[in-house]
């Protein structure tokens, strides 16, 4: 059983959902982020939030995957002040919806004053509502931007054990762990972390407060990254308990603080959910062993569409 704690499923296909379920992924967390181009109306942002708390949750449930999300104003769009002000007005309404496990992903992109302003405002909201935080760390000037993100969390009085600093790499992980934060790693081709490097990191740092995710989105990325990392780690002699923590249990522990995600959601779902939101998972029913298959590969070999 795996959880992918960072997956932008709104950009993925039903083939991806099928492949993820077959690989043993039982739950995903969809952080609110930008869509590859900026939104220009507050209303489109509101509808986006409404989609990830509603329709995407339903869609995932049809494939036996439980869907959760984080809500927030991302750093890129924080630079549009008019949009940002509007989104901030609506955000509290979304933060207490079912399945919202954190405020996120928030933080810095270019580290501008507006990004800083809305990062702080959202940390204050997370504190007020007693929600965990998912922090997106910048691609450029990463090391300094990551340190600064943690400085601001501390300044705002947020307990580091409630914060996941995501998109870590070899250069940022030590400080993140030393300061008591959770360290997320996004296994994302070319730009972030790879599976082989991740296995090396697990050898060095173990499982304490480390979380593996795919960050799969509309770019070239891999929705099976968590399952693949787990398999490669096991092959390389990483203890099964370590693998379980970084691909499953740690996510439950930190985001479970929201009260909105628990193991029983997929192991023993309420009947009312089974009627409306969750069709059940064949792997959990003991139907078959998890396996890694390219999304849609079985269909690709067949000319018959019925």
């Amino acid at each position: 059983m795996f959880i992918d704690p960072h997956a932008h499923m709104i950009s993925r296909t039903t083939d991806d959902y099928e492949a993820m379920a077959a690989a043993g992924i039982v739950a995903v967390i969809e952080p609110a982020f930008w869509l590859g181009q900026p939104r220009t109306f507050v209303g489109t942002y509101v509808d986006y939030l409404s989609t990830i708390i509603g329709f995407e949750r339903f869609r995932a449930g049809q494939f036996g995957i439980r869907h959760y999300c984080t809500v927030g104003l991302n750093s890129k769009e924080a630079n549009n002040e008019e949009l940002a002000e509007g989104v901030m007005e609506w955000l509290p309404r979304f933060a207490l919806k079912e399945g919202v496990v954190a405020i996120g992903e928030i933080g810095y992109d270019e580290q501008t004053p507006l990004e800083d302003k809305y990062f702080r405002a959202q940390l204050a909201l997370a504190k007020e509502l007693q929600l965990p935080v998912m922090v997106h760390t910048p691609h450029r000037d990463k090391k300094q931007g990551t340190s600064r993100s943690m400085d601001v969390c501390e300044e705002m009085g947020i307990d580091p054990s409630w914060v996941v600093i995501d998109h870590n790499n070899e250069e940022t992980v030590q400080e993140t762990l030393d300061r008591g934060f959770w360290a997320g790693f996004s296994i994302y081709p070319s730009t972030k972390m790879g599976t082989v490097r991740m296995v090396e990191l697990l050898k060095q740092y173990g499982s304490e407060r480390i979380i593996v995710d795919s960050a799969c989105d509309w770019g070239i990325s891999d929705p099976l990254a968590v399952a693949k990392t787990a398999m490669l780690a096991l092959k390389n002699g990483i203890p099964a308990e370590t693998v379980r923590k970084v691909t499953y249990a740690n996510t439950l522990e930190v985001y479970g603080k929201s009260g909105q995600i628990q193991e029983s959601d997929w192991l023993n779902p309420p009947e009312i959910d089974q009627r409306t939101l969750y069709e059940g998972n064949s792997i959990l029913r003991g139907g078959r062993e998890p396996r890694i298959e390219a999304p849609g590969s079985r269909k690709r070999d067949s000319l018959i569409i019925e």
Partner: protein
């Protein structure tokens, strides 16, 4: 003396909420006495956190009281948090028209809230003003939301025009949602629907796909009028459940043509009784 439906619902929540009933009672009173709208948002958000998500425990007697208070109202399967959301919204006394308050809640709702908002339709004030909002719910791709409107709910029977009624039935068939739990299915049946369903049968057969045996119930009363006797004949010799459904539907058509067609297929006619028992238990996905 029969109680109002909303009072029954309120009573069932308090009965089940135990130590949280004081919180709920206090919030509902505040809403009824003109608390600001953000108070309503808070109660809607906190309901599952404080009251839990269990199904509302209802006895046979409760259900019969429900039907006595509002004919066709079937609150079975409601959750306690869903019921609390319905009561909070109904008791709230705001400045704005009800439909505007509803719209505002609907567009920021999670799936569970949407189901509750729409299950409450028969209990709200100004029901006619919700026509647009109901349309948005019917168009939803989330089956649970669609079924919150269509199943166990007297609102469509009372307030839908024929066009909307017919499209609800057609969509139910397309998304494999059972027709049996639609309140007023026979009462609101009409020849235009029978014609549309006959086209649906042709389309499915042409594509080599099965159809829900439930379509025959709606076509049956107008089988002669819309020219469906050949199709009935095919169904009467089809798969057993289809035979039973088609025969059952024809049996309720008093025309001589329907009678003689049924008389020509005694094996199918013999399945009617069996099918009537089954009909109450038809679940979705059962398409033959």
């Amino acid at each position: 003396m029969s109680e109002k439906p909303i009072d029954l619902l309120h009573h069932w929540i308090l009965r089940q909420a135990k130590e949280q009933s004081a919180w709920f009672e206090e919030r509902v009173n505040a809403l009824a006495e003109g608390a600001p709208e953000r108070e309503l948002h808070m109660v809607m958000g906190l309901a599952p956190r404080l009251l839990g998500k269990a199904e509302l425990a209802l006895s046979i007697e409760d259900l019969s009281q429900a039907n006595g208070a509002l004919e066709g109202w079937q609150p079975e399967g409601l959750s306690i948090d869903g019921a609390a959301r319905i009561v909070a919204l109904t008791m709230y006394r705001g400045e704005r028209p009800f439909a505007e308050i509803f719209k505002d809640l609907r567009r920021t709702a999670d799936a569970r809230e949407l189901v509750a908002l729409y299950r409450g339709l028969p209990l709200y004030p100004e029901p006619e003003s919700l026509a647009f909002e109901v349309g948005e719910g019917l168009r939803s791709n989330m089956l649970g939301v669609f079924e919150a409107i269509t199943q166990h709910n007297p609102y469509p029977r009372l307030h839908f025009d024929e066009h909307r009624w017919n499209h609800m039935i057609l969509k139910a068939l397309f998304v494999n949602s059972s027709l049996a739990n639609i309140v007023g299915l026979d009462e609101r049946n009409n020849p235009e629907l029978a014609r549309q369903l006959l086209d649906h049968v042709h389309e499915r057969w042409a594509a080599g796909r099965g159809i829900s045996p439930e379509v025959w119930r709606c076509i049956g009363p107008y089988a002669v009028e819309v020219g469906a006797l050949d199709e009935f004949e095919k169904a009467l010799t089809g798969e057993p459940r289809e035979q039973a459904a088609a025969a059952g539907a024809l049996a309720r058509n008093p025309s001589p043509q329907a009678r003689s067609l049924l008389a020509a297929h005694p094996a199918a006619a013999a399945k009617i009784a069996e099918h009537q028992v089954e009909q109450a238990n038809i679940s979705r996905n059962e398409v033959v």
